[in-house]
Symmetry: C2
Subunit: 567 residues, 2 copies
């Protein structure tokens, strides 16, 4: 047994074999990695009572070649019609495509794929070239009762792109991924839904060169999945970016949308506000592919002024102080920070250990009364006009200090910004050694924040050897979200039961079922309990209107048509 202090697990450092399951479920770039640091490794060994020996052998790595052996249920003549619509180069029937475009990044999906288990696949993969293709496909499938599930980036963590009833997997990101127009007067961008975050942001940053604009723009939406998610996905799942406290959630950033549905195609109107009855533009947001297919969206855009960014970080003596200060900042009406995050004591202490802090800081913090498992880290930045960012940062500093915080400069915020998108890469390394990491998140009002935090934490920590880190990262005058990260060594069956228990506790202690991950099929079983049967009936009525033959992402999405089978 190697017990050398310098032992480092053999973290996978090569791109997954072509055609393998791993090449499908691996996060991000095939040759992109972010391994647990030595501190991370030490923490896991200590918390999970493991030794180097436990990191000698990897569990199912999913390196095998994808083999499906399932005959498509569609008739050959149906596939022929779809082929005529999009051209044969845009239709795929091979095993690998059928698995790839049936899979998101749900932990359970990944764990099963490691074992070569595939639950559901589409019969045929279709890559529409444009919105007219989508229209023809939806018309035909509606006539033939063929289910359609949309796949864009596949970053869903809740079985959102699982083709539960087979049929067509419509891959929207292959061709429909362009920025069509920047309207500089209105500060809007008309974009195809399959455009990935970086391409979209880059085009907006380069608006003068690309679109002859006078200014540079930003999309304002930076979820952790930014690099591997698409604009359309943000909208139909109600995503929220890391700078949402200033720019708003995806819901707020949408200006107008064009949808293809079984009962017709329509574009909502371009108005900054209107009083013409309930807003269909809003009704469509968050419909997760169950009403129709988003084929074009006009988004609000914002001036791109990174040179004005003002960063800050603080240490608060306690969670309550951090929450109180956050609330005061959000309600004080001097403007809003863009990024604002507070970590609870466990996340703070683990973070300090994992991401390092200057050697002098620990005794210094202790000396000043910022005690382990009490102190809380806060970091963020302000964006906008230069005088505005300076004012808001100054005001935040004043309020933080009033609540006992110590100012730690903008360093932590800068450091966090640099690694903000890379955390998901670690999941593969942990899973390789049988360690589960997953996240659940909930919106919550200020008056219920502590109850929810304690209720969920108590449940998670009641399981021995379980890490539970929590932060709040999307702020509103009326409340925030809580983002729970749990890490433990457990097998898949225990994981599934444990995750269900956490969701039960989120609902029981008054959190919303999801703040920004969406519902998909994972959370569908809780929807009716959470929203109540009256609200569910409204959603079902709208579903029935748009999709009388239930072809749009059927089989449990949002819990509309059935409670989905997980296995």
């Amino acid at each position: 047994m190697a017990k050398s202090r310098s032992f480092i697990p053999d973290w996978t450092e090569t791109a997954p074999p072509a055609g393998s399951y791993r090449s499908i479920f691996k996060w991000g770039a095939p040759d992109g990695f972010k391994h647990p640091s030595n501190a991370w490794y030490r923490m896991m060994k200590q918390d999970f009572h493991l030794s180097d020996a436990d990191f000698m052998r990897k569990y199912e790595e999913g390196s095998a070649k994808v083999v499906l052996n399932r005959t498509p249920a569609l008739k050959p003549e149906q596939i022929a019609v779809l082929t005529v619509i999009v051209g044969k180069e845009n239709v795929a029937l091979d095993d690998y495509s059928r698995v790839k475009y049936a899979s998101g990044k749900t932990t359970e999906e990944i764990l099963e794929m490691r074992q070569g288990i595939i639950r559901k696949v589409a019969d045929v993969i279709v890559h529409p070239r444009d919105k007219h293709d989508v229209q023809h496909i939806v018309e035909y499938c509606d006539k033939e009762f063929i289910p359609i599930t949309v796949f864009s980036a596949g970053s869903s963590v809740n079985f959102g792109c699982r083709p539960a009833k087979g049929g067509v997997s419509l891959v929207i990101s292959t061709h429909m991924n362009k920025l069509l127009e920047v309207n500089e007067l209105n500060q809007t961008a008309r974009v195809q839904p399959g455009m990935f975050g970086p391409a979209y942001e880059d085009a907006l940053n380069k608006a003068p060169e690309r679109f002859g604009c006078k200014r540079r723009y930003t999309c304002g939406h930076f979820p952790q999945s930014f690099e591997y998610s698409t604009v359309g996905g943000w909208v139909v799942t109600l995503g929220s970016g890391q700078a949402s406290t200033y720019y708003g959630d995806a819901y707020d950033i949408v200006f107008s949308q064009e949808y293809v549905t079984p009962v017709g195609t329509f574009k909502t109107l371009d108005y900054p506000a209107t009083a013409t009855g309930p807003k269909v533009n809003d009704i469509m947001k968050g419909s997760e592919g169950t009403f129709g297919i988003l084929v074009e969206v006009t988004m609000k855009i914002f001036r791109y002024t990174p040179e004005n960014r003002a960063r800050f970080s603080f240490m608060f003596p306690a969670w309550k102080a951090a929450v109180d200060a956050s609330r005061e900042i959000m309600q004080s009406e001097f403007g809003k920070p863009a990024i604002f995050r507070i970590s609870d004591p466990e996340e703070t202490d683990r973070g300090l250990k994992l991401y390092g802090m200057p050697g002098f800081l620990e005794p210094f913090l202790a000396l000043r009364g910022f005690k382990p498992m009490q102190r809380c880290l806060c970091l963020g930045n302000v964006e906008g006009d230069r005088d505005y960012t300076r004012l808001v940062a100054r005001k935040i500093k004043r309020i933080a200090r009033k609540h006992g915080a110590m100012y730690l400069t903008g360093y932590a915020a800068l450091k966090w910004e640099k690694t903000r998108y890379t955390e998901p890469y670690m999941r593969e390394d942990l899973n390789d050694y049988g360690i589960m990491i997953d996240t659940l998140e909930a919106g919550v009002t200020w008056d219920n924040l502590h109850r929810l935090h304690e209720g969920v934490r108590t449940f998670v920590k009641s399981r021995p050897g379980t890490i539970c880190m929590t932060h709040a990262s999307h702020f509103y005058p009326q409340g925030t979200n809580l983002y729970f990260i749990f890490i433990a060594r457990m097998d898949m069956n225990e994981y599934v039961t444990f995750q269900s228990g956490i969701i039960d506790h989120i609902v029981k202690f008054g959190g919303t079922l999801s703040h920004h991950h969406g519902v998909g099929r994972l959370l569908a079983p809780w929807m009716e309990t959470h929203l109540g049967k009256e609200q569910m009936a409204v959603l079902r009525a709208i579903k029935k209107h748009f999709d009388p033959h239930n072809i749009m992402n059927p089989g449990g999405q949002l819990g509309l048509d059935e409670i989905p089978q997980r296995r």
Copy 2:
């Protein structure tokens, strides 16, 4: 014929006779008046080619006693059941009540009432004591197919509270008008829908005394109808307050709602944000009584800090400069003003004449190149934290100057604030002498603003002797609204045709059918053309779900069930 320079028309200065039509249609307090100034009077004579002689005799004043002589269509046993539910003191069948609670403030309604013409009335007036009464009434009426039209303040300008199909007029403001709870942690207020603006605002301002709060609060919503409209009305018709540029429209200020509908009662959940599918909380907003009855609403509230208010006013050399500066202000990301208004050249010049300006100003303006029928007045204020208001005001000043504006101090804004709610009183005086005044308004994006302004203005001004004043008063980064005021001497038939023509031109030139007056029955005929049949079909599907027997505000509201008959 009196041609004395000092002739002043005999503006009505006494409260309308008890029981008269005028006591129903008169705006505001029975003994509240605001008469046209001498300058106004001179302007009307000049523009409409009138002389003092035309102001000797008043037209139909509506002083007659209300007489209806229509037997209620409800069966006595139905009225008996309703009486059992709410108690006999809360049921009325008399002519006066039946007319009063059938009438809003639509110009056409008022003109007809002056002639003693009543188109539609409810069979019975019911004043529910609480939400349980509402629930029992809706259950019973649904079973018996009895229509229900909600009446709260009756300030609708689009036949919104007309009981087109008879049945019950449910008066929500009689008893259901309390502020139930101020949640200071969440900065929300739970309020009954029938509470009037001033009572609501006053209770929030006095939150320390009334609810033991630490701070004072404001509702942030101040429509021109503030004094005679209710919180529930703001929400279900998508109102917008004069300070909406900062606080948001009513749509944005709602936190959660409780509705009684024919298919059940539900309360949407209290969350600052959620990703659990399409938001039923938003779907209900703007439903104008056609889906169900709002019985309780939780609104966001804001810190009340009038001492921080920073006021400003400017003269711009031209409309284009005023629009360009406004757009830059709204897109510059240094924060937002609360009130912000720009008047077009006709409104500016008439305003200067009507509301007076220091004697030296006219030659001074002319000297500096601010020419009549080109120059545009801008005024507003900033609310929030003191340093924030100072910063935003400074930034606004800088941008205004860059666009050629002359700073005119905060005086005009202060003066405007003081008379902001009293303008509607003048309508009665004008109508008394056969002069029509009405307003139509539209949301519009920046890139279409000039086209809409010119298109509608050209139409209005094509009629000789017609005043057309326009301002923009609700601003967003993506656009604003245009508020058209037209004044002319015309009879009712011409008025109705002319108003229709203006609406046609708003739609033709790309404005939204309404920015904040709502749709009611007046705008219903344009809804399908404007939104398109697909969007209308969605609204109708939701309507059908909630109200399968079409008892909720039936007869053309929002154009859902039919195109209403005006006459």
